[in-house]
């Protein structure tokens, strides 16, 4: 069984994003970029499934600029077998990515597509769901645990009230939540080995997908600055304040 793992190049999670002065977006000039953390978890899960013998090949895919090659190299260095870059300088939206992934899935016939539940740049949380709809296959989103048995996959999902378990028949789409696993670090020997792993470069047109944005960003603002708290003298005053706020 093949596993397809889409990975996105995003602003590094340690960087404090700054909004461009003209409010058109986040300033990415000279900012450190990395693999979306949820996608790292997806790569890790795919590798573990391969190491357990549940999968034979892990294919990483990225839709993005030429620089996304670095992100794919990281996936390869973590242990993915090969990679596909679908190169575009457009700001791609979830629907376009899902259409491209659908076309790749048609060609590669993976048993599982494991995606991050969302990318930390646009926080869309849509690609996995859209892909499932386009492919007409079952989805297990916000995965906390993934077990493959025969021709089905059992996914424990993180939901508001706790964990929900679903059993999906393969091929299926899984999106990862934060607690699914702890991704490995790419070691020096594996980074060196990854250099010779295959990396194909394609364009959205190769898959007949038009990536022109369907949405228009009107304005991007910094979040409001948090207001300072207040100090209270004693417990009575605290309780009084809480009561006044209707909390206690």
């Amino acid at each position: 069984m093949k596993i397809l793992v889409p990975v996105k190049r995003v602003i590094d999670y340690n960087v404090k994003p700054r909004v461009k002065a003209d409010g058109t977006g986040v300033d990415l000039a000279n900012v450190k970029m990395s693999m979306n953390p949820f996608d790292e978890i997806a790569v890790e899960e795919a590798l573990r499934l391969r190491e357990k013998g549940a999968a034979t090949e892990v294919i990483a895919v990225s839709v993005g600029p030429a620089k996304a090659t670095e992100t794919l190299r990281t996936a390869l260095a973590m242990g993915a077998d090969r990679a596909i870059l679908v190169q575009t300088d457009d700001e791609v939206e979830p629907l376009a990515v899902a259409k491209i992934l659908k076309a790749i899935a048609d060609a590669e016939a993976p048993g599982l597509v494991i995606l991050g539940k969302q990318a930390i740049d646009d926080d869309s949380n849509q690609t996995g769901q859209m892909l499932a709809a386009l492919m007409g296959r079952p989805q297990g989103t916000f995965a906390n645990e993934v077990t493959v048995e025969g021709d089905s996959v059992t996914v424990k999902r993180e939901i508001d009230g706790g964990l929900e378990t679903v059993k999906l028949s393969l091929p299926a789409i899984v999106t990862t939540d934060l607690r699914l696993n702890e991704p490995r670090y790419a070691s020096l020997p594996n980074i060196m080995k990854a250099k010779s792993k295959p990396l194909d470069t394609k364009s959205p047109a190769d898959y007949g997908v038009d990536t022109a944005p369907r949405l228009k960003t009107v304005k991007v603002n910094e979040p409001p600055v948090r207001q300072a708290g207040i100090k209270v003298a004693d417990v009575d005053e605290l309780v009084g304040k809480l009561k006044a706020l209707g909390i206690a």
Binding site: R73, T74, Y185, S187, L188, I191, M192
Partner: protein, 389 residues
């Protein structure tokens, strides 16, 4: 200059920075309290490839250039010094000695093993000789029944001796001191050779989690192939050449650790309030921060320069010594200021500042004390001057 593909190397540094921040630093307290790096972390460090950084690729290492290797050390040195210590002898001393002097057979035997994470130690210092290392008492005499050697003596303060699979041991092959210290030879001694005993680890001022101990050699028989380079009289030259690399490693470690301490003080100064405002607002605190920043930057520049020169094949003896002296003394000044910025808290074990202060102290002493290196720098200056006159 060879080294690893620069793009891949940056990718590794990226991973390593994360490993340091997310894994090594959070485990520091545990390392210090137990005075031991957990086995699983040592194994992770092996898997990361840290023990074979400078071993050529065809022998199972990463084949890093000197500038790349120094950056790895500096990156690692942002975490507790014990983490660097456990692989530093492999990379700084053992691998370079084998590179500088090893025979093809010695490279083929030992490089893959140390690259895979067998730990090496380096035995030069003795109870009666440290700075004056050529005055060593340990002897190696020809084995009357074969082509091998018999070693006797005691090596002192040997980093990683309690964990080592192999030691590079310096010993006299001549009774009398010879010019260019040709009375000293180097031997590759597996630590499980009969007659090798390791003392119990010494109690140190700082750097908990890394260990030094005596290595006692009593009628230790080694085969002829154990003689580094297959020639007597070269041991000291090999050792001194390897010390260039060791000094770059110490300089890089001191620079990385100074940065760690300063970052910690910077955070503290913005959080701690006195006279109604963060102490970072006071100009006398700012002076300490600015002086430290400036000095760290100077050390970083020296590191870049000396390692690029090494990669170009220049003789860097004087500059490596200068970098080590400056970086280690600078680190001492920075950690002192950091304690000061922490105020009373800087004196307490509860906070990191006092540990930075203790840990940094050794950098001015091992791999050549500041004084010995100053003598060396001046000796070369005077010699060059005399040659020009």
């Amino acid at each position: 200059m060879s080294g690893m593909d620069p793009e891949l190397f940056e990718q590794f540094i990226d991973q390593l920075e994360r490993y340091v921040r997310e894994r090594l630093i959070p485990a520091e307290r545990e390392v210090i309290e137990a005075d031991r790096i957990p086995d699983e972390i040592v194994q992770e460090m092996r898997d990361m490839g840290l023990f074979g950084l400078t071993v050529p690729e065809e022998y199972g290492g990463a084949g890093l250039s000197t500038s790349q290797y120094a950056r790895v050390v500096k990156t690692m040195a942002y975490a507790a010094p014990a983490y660097r210590s456990i692989f530093s002898i492999n990379v700084g001393m053992f691998n370079s000695a084998i590179k500088n002097g090893g025979t093809e057979a010695q490279k083929a035997e030992w490089w893959p093993r140390v690259a895979a994470g067998e730990i090496a130690c380096f035995g030069l210092t003795e109870p009666g000789s440290g700075s004056d290392s050529a005055a060593m008492a340990t002897t190696a005499r020809p084995d009357p029944d074969g082509n091998g050697w018999i070693l006797n003596g005691t090596k002192r303060y040997i980093t990683n001796a309690p964990h080592a699979a192999v030691g590079l041991i310096m010993a006299r092959t001549e009774k009398e001191a010879l010019p260019k210290n040709a009375h000293v030879s180097a031997f590759i001694v597996p630590m499980d050779t009969p007659g090798v005993t390791v003392g119990s680890p010494d109690h140190k001022m700082g750097q908990s989690g890394s260990h030094i101990a005596d290595v006692i050699l009593e009628d230790v028989h080694v085969p002829g192939e154990a003689l580094l380079g297959g020639e007597t009289g070269k041991g000291f030259v090999f050792a001194m050449k390897s010390l260039d690399n060791g000094r770059i490693s110490v300089g890089a470690a001191a620079t990385g650790y100074a940065r760690r301490a300063l970052d910690s003080a910077l955070r503290y100064a913005t959080e701690r309030k006195a006279f109604g405002e963060p102490i970072a607002n006071f100009q006398l605190i700012q002076q300490m921060l600015a002086e430290s920043e400036t000095e760290i930057y100077a050390a970083e520049c020296m590191m870049t320069d000396v390692t690029l020169r090494a990669d170009r094949g220049e003789n860097i003896l004087r500059k490596a010594a200068a970098f080590k002296v400056f970086a280690s003394e600078m680190c001492g000044r920075v950690v002192d200021r950091v304690v000061q910025i922490y105020g009373g808290a800087g004196y307490l074990a509860e906070y990191d500042a006092e540990r930075f202060f203790r840990d940094a102290r050794i950098y001015r002493i091992y791999e050549g004390t500041t004084q010995i290196l100053q003598l060396q720098i001046a000796k070369h200056m005077l010699r060059d001057f005399a040659a020009q006159a």
